[in-house]
Symmetry: C2
Subunit: 462 residues, 2 copies
């Protein structure tokens, strides 16, 4: 028995006797292979000793106690749908997935739900909808991303322009710290000023400070049916002009942007009869109640027309509206059919959005790569998709240069390198440029205070 085998035997022992169903400790190389990377498909991902599919907080504690004792790196993982390499395995480490922890309890009176981390965002939405309630955060990947991963990355989505991001809905967490201690932070209380805001510190910490084993989320009354307005533009600057016209006056429930490359790719995939000659398309919604919804939708339609939209379409039919929203959500897989993507997540203060989009066009031309742009335009968060053929080494190199240049541009415009995906591994080289050396130092001090031996998600963020 090698030293590694002995350690794994010890891990199997601390995880306790096998229960029915799939084993918690997985060492089958074919299965382990599927847990080495998230959707960022980091080619530098290592090969872990094993994967642990935690079934409980106690399992997570057992793994972290064992990992602390043996100084083994642990990569926490939710559904593996991350796009920044936040769940990239380490050679000789453990991938600790919470995907099997899937319970939820909804309390309609406090309008909160206590959710285990493995439940998918869409499953949370469905469970609370049975009580006439709504969990707003809606990453485009909502059918396949987990609530634990959403909390770990402070995920966003389409409705953030009106409803805010994940942290705005997290009232409490159970977190397992590096040494295996489980702590309860916050709880089902809208107001709680007792002690430091530790709950919010763990939201968005990407598995570097602890492993989230339970999330208490705030819920709101069910969203009223939305009115949808879709517009096509021959010029990108007309679309960005319309965005600013709208946001300086009202707060839409959704305001999404797709550029010409994306429109064509989505139409190729979904055959929706989109206007393929358009350079930009905006999809906006109002979910105001009663006559106010009509008023907001009309205001947005007028803003589009005033900015010279070539086509404006309005519908109060929820299914018709959802078809356009689904088209927008399908943009990344659609563009990915052209070739693999380097996926950006840069955001800027809204007035800088036109400059960001123009700058991206310039970078695409200079680096001779195709960059499709989709955006949660109403909140300034964009996803430039850099298309490249991995077989073409020169193009791939140019794509990577463009990837960095876009983040540098966003920083120069007062923006962020990541609005909702997290830093992970793919963006960490640019984090110091955004936040500066003093904030990096502060970050390291907190990381060191909470994970002194650095076993939690090493290589991510820092």
């Amino acid at each position: 028995m090698t030293a590694t085998d002995a350690r794994l035997a010890e891990l199997a022992e601390v995880l306790g006797p096998s229960r029915p169903g799939p084993s918690r400790l997985v060492t089958d190389p074919d299965v382990v292979e599927t847990y080495r990377r998230d959707w960022a498909k980091d080619p530098a991902a290592g090969t872990p000793l094993a994967v642990v599919r935690a079934g409980s907080t106690e399992d997570v504690q057992a793994v972290l106690r064992w990992a602390s004792a043996h100084d083994v790196p642990v990569t926490p993982r939710g559904a593996g749908s991350g796009l920044s390499g936040g769940a990239t395995a380490i050679d000789g480490g453990i991938v600790l997935t919470t995907e099997a922890m899937r319970e939820i309890t909804v309390d309609p009176v406090t309008r909160t739900a206590v959710v285990q981390p493995g439940l998918l965002n869409a499953e949370v939405k469905r469970a609370v909808a049975e009580h006439g309630l709504w969990y707003p955060p809606d990453p485009s990947s909502f059918e396949m991303c987990s609530i634990g991963g959403n909390a770990a990355t402070n995920a966003g989505g389409l409705c953030c322009v009106k409803y805010g991001v994940t942290t705005d809905y997290v009232l409490g967490l159970e977190v397992v710290l590096a040494d295996g201690t489980a702590v309860r932070l916050g709880g089902p209380r809208l107001k709680d000023s007792a002690g430091l805001s530790l709950t919010k510190l763990f939201v968005g910490s990407e598995g570097t400070l602890g492993v989230i084993t339970e999330v208490t989320v705030r819920l709101v009354p069910a969203q009223p049916p939305a009115s949808t307005v879709v517009a096509s533009f021959a010029r990108v600057e007309d679309a960005t002009g319309a965005i600013l016209d709208i946001t300086r006056t009202m707060r839409p429930a959704m305001l999404e942007f797709m550029d010409g490359v994306t429109i064509a790719a989505v139409d190729d995939a979904l055959k929706m009869g989109l206007d393929r000659s358009a350079r930009a398309m905006l999809i906006a919604q109002s979910d105001a109640v009663g006559g106010e919804c009509e008023r907001e939708a009309a205001f947005m339609a007028e803003a589009f027309e005033r900015r010279g939209a070539t086509e404006v379409f309005r519908t109060d039919d929820p299914d018709e509206g959802e078809a356009f929203t689904a088209a927008r959500r399908f943009a990344i897989p659609a563009v990915e059919r052209i070739d693999p993507l380097l996926l950006e997540d840069v955001g800027v203060p809204l007035p800088a959005l036109p400059d960001l989009i123009t700058g991206i066009e310039r970078i695409a031309a200079e680096r001779d790569v195709t960059i499709a742009v989709i955006a949660h335009a109403g909140d300034g968060n964009t996803h430039p998709l850099i298309v490249h053929d991995p077989a073409d080494a020169d193009m791939t190199a140019r794509a990577h240069v463009a990837f960095g240049e876009i983040m540098t541009l966003a920083i120069a415009l007062g923006g962020t390198i990541t609005g909702e995906h997290g830093v992970g591994r793919l963006k960490k080289a640019w984090l110091p440029d955004q936040v500066g050396p003093d904030v990096m130092d502060l970050t390291r001090r907190i990381k060191h205070a909470l994970d002194p031996t650095g076993i939690l998600n090493p290589g991510a963020v820092l």
Copy 2:
């Protein structure tokens, strides 16, 4: 020249030459006296060496560099309206007030404002209202509390039941750390997942991790005019029943509770002709738009009637509604006219609200003290006001016993010892009971990482 005089001369030197207007460094004992305590009037407050009225971030940096070099404790202070003793001076320390830092810049396009900490909450509301915007958090003290203090305590208010608390509106901060380093965290971006959520960690940290020198707040469109429904009840349990009936179905914009003692005290002070025979009064608002407002107000009025309200009054007149809201806001000063108060801020998950109120009545009877109860009932945050005559030593002792028993009760009901005022000094003995030893340890690790020599607000929270 004594060592102390030499140090103060050095502080005067680092604060630079005097500018016009009041001096930044204040050592006049009469003036210093007014800065020793906040509204909690902590009798254990020390006598500081001096007060510094910072005029800029650079002033705050100069003070903290000097204090770090000489290991002098610093008590950060906003408007001094805190109710938990979070700004209680230390013997031989410095009180560092940001009250003179009062600039604001509003950006209607990003719907954000960059505010210096000394601006009052009401002044922020007025400045943004000129742009048709609204900063929701509304502590009852909004005319005299500062935005810096609001951020430092994660302040709440009346509208939180629908609109959330201060942290939900803070997108960015400038903070000066213990060693004098100024860092910028977050910024005017609705979405930002770059690095740890340090902004949110400093919100609610009560001056123990750094001094807030600038706050970037998120704004929302102006609140629509509200419909107000006021009801009186002969039995407290009818009122709490109505609260749960409402919150399980809809989300009011305000839902406030006053008990019989408070009703009488407010009526004594304001002569409003309130029903002084009532044991409870509820003040509710809907700010939904159009017909929905009418529907919500009618629903609440029906809920009150169904629960046997002795009187129900509805008005769409904003001034009439504001008169009742102002009466509720005036409750603390009104009850204080009876005798000095020990002021609680306990919150519970909403279904436990009736048990909390019943339990408080029991404690009042057992300890033979008058306890008036007001509550932000819609979010479960209550302010039991323990009335006591400081000249009566036995009553004062009984009041202090009741003060602790109410916090212990709230904890037992799954609640918090402070919903919106902060822990300060008055509640710190109960913080470990609420959060447990592991969370206390985590708190100490973060405090130590950020303020290793413990110069920032020693005695508060920890």
